[in-house]
């Protein structure tokens, strides 16, 4: 019996894979894709793991598919850049067991460093791509993805956007059916991609695209929704929902579920049946450009932005000239995200900004060290770039500047793609200093295990990477570990290692303040000795949300937020702040 329940988009994707008999998942976390794999891991039938990065994840899923398993790999949009290499050639090899590649775009950049549109990958790699518009479609399309993958012998891209991935809506679920595992048959012509074989496979890829185009014309994944024929909207995913919200039955719709390749005949027929053909798609004019190339007149980016998320109101304004009145509210101070109270990253960034070093930054919670009052980062590009970027900087800026420069990178990010940069530092010899901020978890994306933490996605014990041994092994001789709650020790380590004429690594080690065992051992909040406080505001420089300044009272601690890390106490020259784990007796 099936029943309807309110389901998170990403949970519904996992549910669909599960119902379709998926048995293997390998992913790397990234908002807004992370929960797909976390929900899959909650099932007994799907073996699910966190890989060190997206390329490893996708290649692992490829191996599982070869072995006959229905499998998936999930990642955020920028993760697909990392996995693009296997993706493009997997298009040639095709699959054995059905294989889906979930890629979550983030229009509006709620939690991302860019706003790239993954649909370009579907066109570039010549792969089918599905895009659901709500949780029910997340489930249904996930099932369809694995089936289509086997039917067309192609990995199937599954595009999500933040508002679909992170919305709950009703889903009718079904039972799981596990198709018999497909036997592996050795077939070098298909699976060994060297030039002679790949030439043949490229022919197969082009033939597959033709077959997919024919399929696109008839599949119910692409459907016409009737309405007033004066406006005809072509849309997919969340953009379809915004259009429907704005226009209701004042427009007819061609709702695309399969966004690559496009159904040309269907589009032509739909265009002929409406007065005005309008393409509503967030980000790039991917559908519009193709429809124009078919010679079909349409409107799209002339009306709507290429930047950020759409809204129903913006669509109504552009198409119907409807405007809404809004109330002007006096502005209030902004509330940017901040490092949590007790965050082990905080002290490091305080010292970095105090020493005025060039800081080659990376992606993780510690990117927040770029914000005032810490303001410690000079660059943040993509995962791993802190280490490799620092190498180039050191080479070009000269030895003096090199000695005033460091890279900062988290444990998960270091394993993801920092280690190769470190090998380059050693191999090509720059006197760079790399700080590995090891908080024993992948923090930014909401606490995922990684190869350094000693646990797997399913919470089974696993060998933990020994970062010190790893750095030694690649040829870094100077490797030391410091506790970020000991500001003096951090400063000494930084001064000594940046001064050295050879590569060095400082492992800054302390677990994330939000990890359960850390929470369980929290110290009581610090207290301020009123008479001792000289109102110098030194404690404000660490940017802790738990301590603020009152003109009359001086430093004030919010006892509901303070976790007693004692960093503020170390800032105080007058001993006015008492308690906390980091306070040392002078």
């Amino acid at each position: 019996m099936s029943k309807k329940e309110l389901m998170f988009g990403n949970a519904a994707v996992a549910r669909g894979f599960w119902e379709a008999g998926c048995t293997f998942a390998s992913s790397y976390p990234g908002t807004p894709s992370t929960e797909v794999t976390e929900f899959a891991a909650e099932t007994a039938e799907i073996y699910a793991e966190w890989a060190p990065n997206e390329k490893v994840a996708l290649e692992s899923a490829f191996g599982a598919s070869l072995a006959g398993a229905r499998s998936f790999a999930a990642m955020k949009h920028v993760g697909l850049n990392v996995a693009a290499d296997p993706l493009f050639t997997m298009s040639y090899t095709g699959v054995n067991g059905g294989l889906a590649v979930v890629v979550a775009d983030d229009p509006g950049m709620h939690s991302s460093q860019n706003e790239q549109d993954s649909r370009h990958y579907a066109m570039g790699a010549k792969l089918p791509m599905l895009e659901p518009a709500d949780a029910a479609e997340c489930r249904a399309y996930a099932m369809a993805a694995l089936e289509l993958s086997e039917r067309f012998d192609a990995p199937v891209l599954f595009r999500l956007t933040t508002r679909v991935a992170h919305s709950r809506s009703p889903v009718e679920t079904g039972e799981r059916t596990e198709p018999p595992r497909r036997a592996y048959q050795k077939d070098p012509g298909k699976y060994v991609m060297m030039p002679a074989n790949a030439r043949g496979r490229h022919v197969a890829v082009e033939a597959r695209t033709e077959a997919l185009k024919a399929f696109a014309e008839t599949t119910p994944l692409n459907r016409v929704v009737p309405g007033d024929r004066r406006i005809g909207v072509v849309a997919a995913g969340i953009a379809y929902q915004y259009a429907r919200e704005a226009l209701g039955d004042r427009a007819a719709y061609l709702k695309l579920g399969l966004v690559n390749p496009l159904p040309e005949k269907k589009i032509r027929e739909f265009a002929a049946s409406v007065d005005r053909l309008v393409i509503v798609e967030e980000l790039d004019p991917v559908i519009e450009t193709q429809i124009r190339a078919m010679g079909i007149p349409c409107e799209g980016k002339a009306l709507f932005s290429r930047i950020g998320e759409y809204t129903a109101r913006a669509i109504a304004a552009a198409l119907l000239g409807e405007t809404a009145e809004t109330v002007a509210v006096p502005p209030v101070p902004g509330r940017p995200p901040v490092l949590c109270p007790g965050c082990p990253h905080r002290g490091v960034f305080y010292v970095l900004s105090k020493l005025k070093l060039f800081v080659s930054g990376d992606i993780g919670c510690y990117t927040l060290g770029a914000l005032p009052p810490l303001g410690a980062l000079d660059t943040t590009l993509c995962m791993g770039a802190s280490v490799s970027g620092l190498h180039g900087w050191c080479k070009a800026a000269g030895d003096e500047a090199a000695k005033r420069s460091v890279a900062v990178i988290g444990d998960s990010t270091f394993i993801h793609s920092g280690i190769t940069g470190l090998i380059n530092i050693v191999y090509n010899g720059s006197p760079a200093t790399v700080l590995i901020l090891d908080n024993s978890i992948t923090g930014m994306t909401g606490h995922q295990q990684n190869p350094c933490t000693g646990l797997t996605l399913k919470n089974a014990p696993a060998p933990a990477v020994d970062l010190t041994a790893l750095c030694h092994a690649v040829g870094v001789r100077r490797v030391r570990t410091v506790d970020p709650f000991d500001l003096a020790a951090v400063e000494t380590a930084l001064r000594e290692e940046t001064a050295a004429d050879e590569p060095s690594v400082i492992i800054v080690k302390r677990p994330c303040a939000l990890l359960k065992p850390v929470v369980a051992q929290r110290k009581p909040p610090v207290t301020v000795e009123r008479d001792a406080c000289r109102r110098c505001r030194a404690c404000m420089r660490i940017g802790c949300p738990a301590i603020s300044f009152d003109r009359e009272k001086g430093a004030v601690v919010d006892t509901t937020l303070c976790v007693g890390c004692g960093l503020c106490g170390q800032m105080c020259a007058f001993g006015a702040i008492r308690g906390g784990s980091g306070t040392r007796v002078i």
Partner: protein, 191 residues
């Protein structure tokens, strides 16, 4: 019109997600189509957070736009003003009186406004102020402030106390049932 648009705003870490789950459960049980939209990730780290809950016969967009919310539940005082423009004319704001200084205020770059109530009143907004933390403490733990706040909001959303209780119970772990039941009832009674 049976459609209802609710906005939950606050500061990352305040428990807004549980409140939106309970609302989702409540409307689903009432047989309505529902969309709940949350943003996870970066904004959780003490940033300003916003959750949309929409219920009706057929809900298309998961988002609510300026002037579209029937009820806004604000978990923090200043956030109420930040999102006041989302309220529909004639709508209601349930405002927790808790104040959390944002970083620009902590660093002295900005001042926490001391006239949020006056500003909202000046805009003609019907706001109900709740000391949800105190109510939650009375119920047994400050952690249940989110549910107490929801109890207050339930008065302006409608529905029977029983239906709400069912929704609360469906969303909280068994060992916290009594606490949340109490907090919800207190919030509902005082509003």
């Amino acid at each position: 019109m049976t459609e209802l648009n609710l906005l939950i705003v606050g500061v990352g870490g305040q428990g807004t997600v549980l409140a939106s789950r309970i609302l989702g459960e409540y409307f689903t049980a009432a047989g309505l189509d529902v969309k709940v939209s949350e943003v996870h990730g970066m904004s959780q780290r003490g940033g300003s957070v916003i959750t949309f809950v929409r219920a009706g016969r057929d809900v298309a967009s998961p988002l609510i736009e300026a002037g579209g919310a029937d009820v806004i539940i604000s978990f923090e005082l200043l956030e109420a003003q930040r999102y006041a423009g989302y309220l529909k004319p004639g709508g209601t704001m349930i405002v927790n009186t808790q104040q959390i200084d944002p970083m620009p205020v902590v660093t002295g770059a900005a001042v926490y406004p001391d006239n949020v109530r006056e500003t909202l009143a000046g805009l003609g907004i019907h706001a109900v102020y709740v000391d949800a933390t105190a109510e939650a403490v009375e119920a047994g733990s400050a952690k249940a402030a989110n549910v107490a706040l929801l109890g207050a909001a339930s008065r302006f959303i409608g529905g029977s106390a029983e239906a709400w209780e069912q929704a609360v119970l469906a969303c909280v772990p068994a060992r916290f049932r009594e606490l949340n039941q109490k907090a919800f009832a207190l919030g509902r009674a005082r509003a």
